[in-house]
């Protein structure tokens, strides 16, 4: 028995020895070739970088006009490119945590441009950059104040009683709140990568938020710095977003178009506004910590947000590989809205991919435009 075991062991050792090979086989000539290619790219890249200026990566390529402003908040209308745009305009409500030009990043990656091409009359609410004096802005100011006034402005300009609302990410959450408080003003609602259930534990942000005291944060800092949020987002995939991304950059250094794409994305990632303190406090406590939205317990300006009052048609778009807003968090909307006309559509991309992926750029705008057209 012992001999048999010994023989078996010896056999196993010899088998594994023949299968196992040193996994790292970086030959000197190969490494040298790689180094030479890299140096070549670096030299060309330096030459290209020397020509690029900040103005070339300033995003927001589609012409637009400022039609309304209050404090830091500006309402823009994108210049229609068709003779007769759709009769009911779409107002985009973007998140507070990033700049909205992500949806209009460059010519070939612009959700805005594609929607305009499809005849959508498009407006955008730009939240600007909160100052220290904006520390006292609350969700009431944002929802019952700025969004409501923007909606009224568009209704007045367009001569319509109702408009379409497109909320993106946290903007979708705000749009949901607004739609439940003012359903009579909203014809159709579209939510894109929007968190609804903040206790979907697939999302790291949801897990981490449970152990952070928002009161301490706001009392200590006033406005929550954009850099702080950036750091949190980077920590979700630390090596990929802090190291590998820049190693991959070396591979495209000699391609001016790719380099410009990278630099535009980089600008958007780190161009994060501060969060108005009181609004952040309420959002973190009511939504992240206590998940009040789906429980119908959120109060904004003394009015309770009841998702059951969202009875207009809803189109819910989410990303299947979203690490910021997990699919479960978005999909939960279905169980809480009061509408019978609920459509959900997913795309096989991540959170950022929903804005810039080529595949999504091809499929998403027609999805939105077609859905709206059927519900004029």
């Amino acid at each position: 028995m012992a001999d048999g075991v010994k023989a078996g062991k010896e056999s196993g050792r010899s088998d594994s020895a023949s299968e196992w090979a040193l996994p790292i086989d970086i030959r000197p000539d190969q490494a040298l070739r790689e180094l030479v290619e890299l140096n070549d790219k670096i030299v060309k890249g330096i030459e290209i970088l020397g020509r690029i200026r900040e103005e070339e990566i300033t995003p927001g390529v589609t012409p637009r006009q400022e039609v309304w402003r209050r404090d830091n908040t500006v309402l823009y209308r994108f210049t229609p490119v068709v003779e007769e745009p759709s009769s009911i305009p779409v107002v985009i409500v973007y998140a507070l945590v990033n700049r909205p030009y992500m949806i209009d990043l460059q010519e070939d990656r612009s959700l805005v441009k594609k929607l305009l091409d499809l005849g959508v009359d498009l407006y955008l609410i730009d939240w600007g950059y909160p100052r220290r004096s904006d520390r006292w802005l609350t969700l009431d100011d944002y929802v019952n104040g700025y969004i409501d006034e923007c909606v009224d402005q568009v209704r007045s300009e367009a001569g319509v009683g109702q408009i379409n609302l497109l909320g993106i990410c946290q903007g979708g959450t705000l749009a949901l709140c607004y739609s439940s408080l003012y359903p009579e003003k909203i014809r159709n609602l579209i939510t894109m990568v929007t968190p609804v259930d903040f206790h979907a534990w697939d999302g790291l942000l949801n897990v981490w938020a449970q152990h952070v005291d928002p009161d301490l944060l706001v009392d200590a800092l006033g406005n929550v710095p954009g850099e702080f949020l950036n750091f949190g987002f980077l920590m979700l995939k630390p090596f990929q977003l802090s190291l590998r991304k820049y190693v991959d950059l070396l591979g495209v250094l000699d391609d001016e178009a790719e380099l410009l794409n990278f630099l535009r994305m980089e600008k958007w990632i780190f161009d994060s506004p501060d969060q108005a303190g009181e609004a952040y406090r309420q959002f973190a406590k009511d939504f992240y910590l206590n998940n009040k939205l789906i429980n119908g317990e959120v109060e904004i300006g003394g009015k309770v947000v009841d998702l059951g009052k969202v009875r207009m048609p809803v189109l819910n778009l989410y990303a299947e590989h979203d690490h910021l807003v997990p699919p479960k968090s978005s999909i939960a909307l279905k169980d809480h809205v009061g509408t019978d006309d609920y459509t959900v559509r997913s795309f096989p991309v991540g959170h950022i991919g929903m804005y810039v992926s080529g595949k999504v750029q091809r499929d998403l705008p027609p999805t939105i435009a077609g859905w709206l057209k059927d519900r004029r």
């Binding site: 594994s16 190969q30 006009q65 950059y129 001569g159 449970q210 995939k237 630390p238």
Partner: protein, 385 residues
């Protein structure tokens, strides 16, 4: 009297010097690597035996127990004079010196007998936790248990020693004119200590994560080797490392242990930041300089006033609209009610020319769509108009 007094003083000084020398030698031996095993010379030549053997009995038990922990070894080697006993003896010698000095200066009495013991006991209570913490690390590490790492529990020994001795006294309410300010400083110090403690714990968790990443990387390479796969370039190696590291980190980041450590660190740093600001406010108040908090109060008032103005305007608009409706209903033949009227808006393409800027004082008004002059910090230009 005078010669006796001089002799007395000389004797006291001699005892004091001897005591200091003994203490110094004891400390040097305690911190040398082989202090417990050094033979000959001064006290403490041989290895210590168990704690029970090392602890002297009787009135010195308090000091002895604590001091006997110093340099304790669990090996059963030759017994001999305890190095730690030297500490006790040294301090006892010093106390005796002080006692003799006092007895030389004042007439002896029944009160003096207890005097030395009183201070001796008090000193025992103060010094004992520190002697306990200063035991060799391996004796502490072997006793640590629980969720937190041995290293972080080990550092707690010093925190505990501090809190049981000086910390306890510092935590008590202060007295006097500076009472409030001192309390503010104490809060800041407390917040700083908590922040450092939270930082350390967080780094321990991250350290464990790194160890796991390296282990997983080795496993991944081993698995590749068994499958005959190879990494043929540095970029591939880096990609593999990135995938493995992110995978491991994300798994660790999901754990309650990490989330708690991170949350504790963040909360502690914010608490310290808040105390820092409050302390700064206190300083600035003394110098009649406005602080950030003062400005925040002003902006808060402005914000509330602006909100009130907006609500009043909104209310006025709604009332105006209602009046207009009433007018229309009551006088259907009349074309227009008195008051302002708005021209119909066109729905064709928006005008390309930018409207004239208004004065900045009208920024609070919601009526009228056109912009006031942009303030450079409030809004960055990021689009083409």
């Amino acid at each position: 009297m005078a010669p006796d007094f001089e002799d007395h003083i000389q004797g006291v000084v001699r005892i004091w010097l001897d005591a200091q020398r003994e203490i110094g030698e004891a400390w040097l031996r305690a911190f040398s690597p082989d202090w417990a095993s050094s033979a000959g010379g001064g006290p403490g030549g041989a290895r210590a035996t168990t704690a029970a053997d090392a602890a002297p009995a009787g009135e010195d038990a308090g000091m002895g127990n604590a001091a006997a922990g110093e340099g304790r070894r669990t090996t059963n080697e030759q017994p001999g004079p305890q190095p730690t006993a030297t500490f006790a003896e040294s301090y006892r010698a010093m106390l005796r010196m002080w006692e003799q000095l006092v007895t030389g200066l004042v007439p002896p009495g029944p009160w003096l007998e207890g005097f030395g013991h009183l201070y001796g006991d008090a000193f025992d209570n103060l010094a004992a936790p520190w002697f306990e913490a200063l035991r060799p690390p391996d004796q502490h590490l072997s006793k640590t248990k629980g969720e937190r790492s041995a290293l972080s529990q080990f550092t707690d020994l010093y925190w505990d020693a501090y809190e049981r001795t000086m910390g306890r006294l510092l935590e008590s309410p202060d007295v006097g004119y500076r009472r409030e300010f001192d309390e503010r400083l104490l809060q800041s110090a407390r917040a700083w200590i908590e922040f450092r403690s939270a930082s350390f714990d967080y780094l321990v968790v991250l350290g464990r994560a790194w160890v796991k990443i390296v282990g997983e990387m080795m496993s991944e390479l081993d698995s590749m080797g068994r499958q005959g796969k190879k990494v043929t370039s540095f970029v591939e190696l880096l990609q593999l490392w990135t995938e493995v590291a992110d995978r491991v980190l994300i798994e660790i980041f999901r754990r309650e242990e990490y989330a708690k450590a991170q949350g504790r660190l963040l909360n502690a740093s914010m608490a310290y930041r808040r105390e820092e600001r409050r302390t700064a406010d206190a300083f600035l108040k003394m110098t009649h300089v406005p602080s950030q908090s003062d400005l925040d109060e002003v902006t808060r008032e402005v914000h509330l006033l602006r909100r009130e103005v907006r609500e009043l305007r909104k209310s006025a608009r709604e009332s105006e609209a209602e009046l207009r409706d009433l007018w229309k209903r009551s006088s259907p033949t009349k074309a227009q009610p008195p008051g302002r009227s708005r021209p119909a808006r066109s729905r064709t393409k928006a005008p390309t020319s930018k409207p004239a800027a208004r004065e900045k004082t009208s920024a609070v008004e919601g009526d009228g769509p056109k912009a006031s002059a942009q303030s450079p910090k409030s809004h960055k230009s990021d689009g083409i108009e």
